[in-house]
Symmetry: C2
Amino acid sequence: MAKGASISGFPEWLPSERVVEQRVIDTLRSVFELNGFIGIETRAVEQGSSLLKKGETSKEIYLLSRLQEVGHESDTPIEDRLGLHFDLTVPLSRYVVEHSGDLAFPFKRWQIQKVWRGERPQEGRFREFVQADIDVIGNGDLPDHYEVELPLVMVSALERLREFGLPKATVHANNRKLSEGFYRGLGLTDIEGVLREIDKLDKIGADEVARLLVEGCGANEHQAFACLELAELTAADGAELAEKFDALCAKHAITTDSDAYALARQGLDTLAMIVDEAARIRPGSVIADLKIARGLDYYTGSVYETFLDGAAALGSICSGGRYDNLASQGSRKYPGVGLSIGLSRLVSYMLHTAGAHANRVSPASVLVAVWNEADRSACNVIANQLRARGIAADVAPTAAKLGKQIKYADKLGIPYVWFPADAAEDGAGDEVKNIVTGDQQAADARSWEPDTVYARQTVTVEA
Amino acid sequence: MAKGASISGFPEWLPSERVVEQRVIDTLRSVFELNGFIGIETRAVEQGSSLLKKGETSKEIYLLSRLQEVGHESDTPIEDRLGLHFDLTVPLSRYVVEHSGDLAFPFKRWQIQKVWRGERPQEGRFREFVQADIDVIGNGDLPDHYEVELPLVMVSALERLREFGLPKATVHANNRKLSEGFYRGLGLTDIEGVLREIDKLDKIGADEVARLLVEGCGANEHQAFACLELAELTAADGAELAEKFDALCAKHAITTDSDAYALARQGLDTLAMIVDEAARIRPGSVIADLKIARGLDYYTGSVYETFLDGAAALGSICSGGRYDNLASQGSRKYPGVGLSIGLSRLVSYMLHTAGAHANRVSPASVLVAVWNEADRSACNVIANQLRARGIAADVAPTAAKLGKQIKYADKLGIPYVWFPADAAEDGAGDEVKNIVTGDQQAADARSWEPDTVYARQTVTVEA
């Protein structure tokens, strides 16, 4: 991150770092489009009423006021004020309802945009950052095969990001119906409460969670222990998942003909479908992990978190789930499935831990040298001839000594310096020098091509 | 614009419209990079003190407050609060000073980002919109040839946008030093006041401007008339400009050995260089137009506005100039030259006046049909084979009747529907149908290629 960024929580990249972020964004966009997702951008602001309605982060809002309103902000209720969106899911829900007549359903969209969290400033937390989301929204209903496909699209996207130093990613999936059915089978009723405590498992440990379940969610010790047993369950395929789950149900006397089991089984079947299809397409990319709860209150089916090998400290880098009740219009519902990548944190990891870096700061392949200012117009012509053929070119800032011009190219990482023919030297033509290899040769701006390896700005990872 | 967008001044595009905006952004980025500009993104917020300092728009700020601070906003002075940036020039100045040790100068950067104006809502005014800027910033000094090159980069960028329906653009250039020297030569001293009134010429007419110059800027009728005469001066080349200007000076007894004339001549020489170099590279793209004043107080040399043929109502679509005093650190100055395109208004014009439209909503070229849900996994394999070769593909949402699946493809503008081999029909292989032409043929997902004309999402303009 740029040193000395003057406002805590608002990261800003140096130009060479921005190259990495831009490549990551370009890569995600291309994967999303390859999978038929449609790009949209929503406005940065939503009504306060819409922001306050849903989500764990709805307490971390930045509200806006016009300069002219300062001192009178409180005249307007928060619900009627404008605020910056804290995620891209709430805006999507609003967008889909607002424009439902103009959209084809199921509506598959990608969206890469900044979001803001009005948190207290604290070390390592971003208050402005970029999210990269895919969601599919149905009109009335939505087939559950999307709960399989969307995490797999994210897996293929994250796979592509390994060229920028990202370790292998594994999606951990669970299903709210499975958890709820099991909890109900145990005789528990405060389902949201139990999920909220289970979500803390990695942070505070099993003993503490058990205590909270007993003290706050009406569980006895046996029930609390059973919830923790469920949370420990993982499986790489559907058969293993069903076997382990049924054993647990048997142990806790949840009978297979109960309503609770039927609900759990519905969730289990979807989860089994996810891991089995993932195993066919990308073995090892998705596992069933029954401790995944997700803090957000709006998920109703599958929930996902994604972890990177050897980067546990980062936490989940791509999360989401199925939400059936986030968007509605009268009695019509718009159920959705979506996942969101916290892109700024990923880029930060690539830059500072994985050693991703741009091969050069400038997009230009060539710097055209200027012998004296009177020749500048001719130098512009050369640069334009290169640009017309897709070769990015810059022209030296001043007719300084050649050494200084080469130093400027070197500082920007521009690999070639172009020497226009010196009008004074009879018969000599243009030459171009690769300042990396030292190779220099005669060249014509209407036909010369850079060597492939020097032709483009690229991102590589330190060995 | 999306119908019924529920907050006035915050435009939001429908998916097919967003395709056009995205193409415009991609095109501008590619032109900027071809010219060696480096992409950066600055945070959306700046300190209030920084936003209040400069620029005509500094009265149109959105300030932020955290939800937890509501009711206590006034405890913090505006200077210490955070606000959304209203342009990309003020953030650039701050960024350059903050990171000067990490940048190579002159620093040429492009930046395409949203900006916000905390205006009262009114018809046709955007409060959130995208700007596309290029600037070059020097460390200590900055050669004036950049005052020629930057408008020419914008001209070539706007030229590329003609494929999306933009009419021919002409940059109208002036120079503050030329105007100031002339006004001083007339004996006027309130230079900023005169520039401010001259800037209103197109809106309120010459008589009214003359009245304001006399009443508010200390001009007599003769001086006011002379200012208006200067504002009427236009020229297509440097020689014509010098000739007309010298004639005007002679008429008003401004002698060529005066300090005022020397100042004016400095501006004139730069302006002549601009129009002459432009005439060599792109004849007719830049003219000298001495009524261009620009409202912003920070310009010190060249100023530019850009108008589209036959779209006078749009006003200037790309404006800027040279600013020597916007950024500084102690006694060190960072002079700059830059231009900014108001991108959202341009896209609105392309969509609603020029008839630009996407050939399809979905980026997918192919929809793989699903005969029944049990085959979905095999359909995913086909789609993945296509994607692996760069062909964007979607899979039908449900195993509905074929007609319904084709209708879904049609609604999204997906040109091909893929029919997987029916396991029931012995020996029959996959087929693919172009639903635009009706052509249907045997195909293998590992080798088939779409016809070029149907391969990509493109933007065309109605005849």
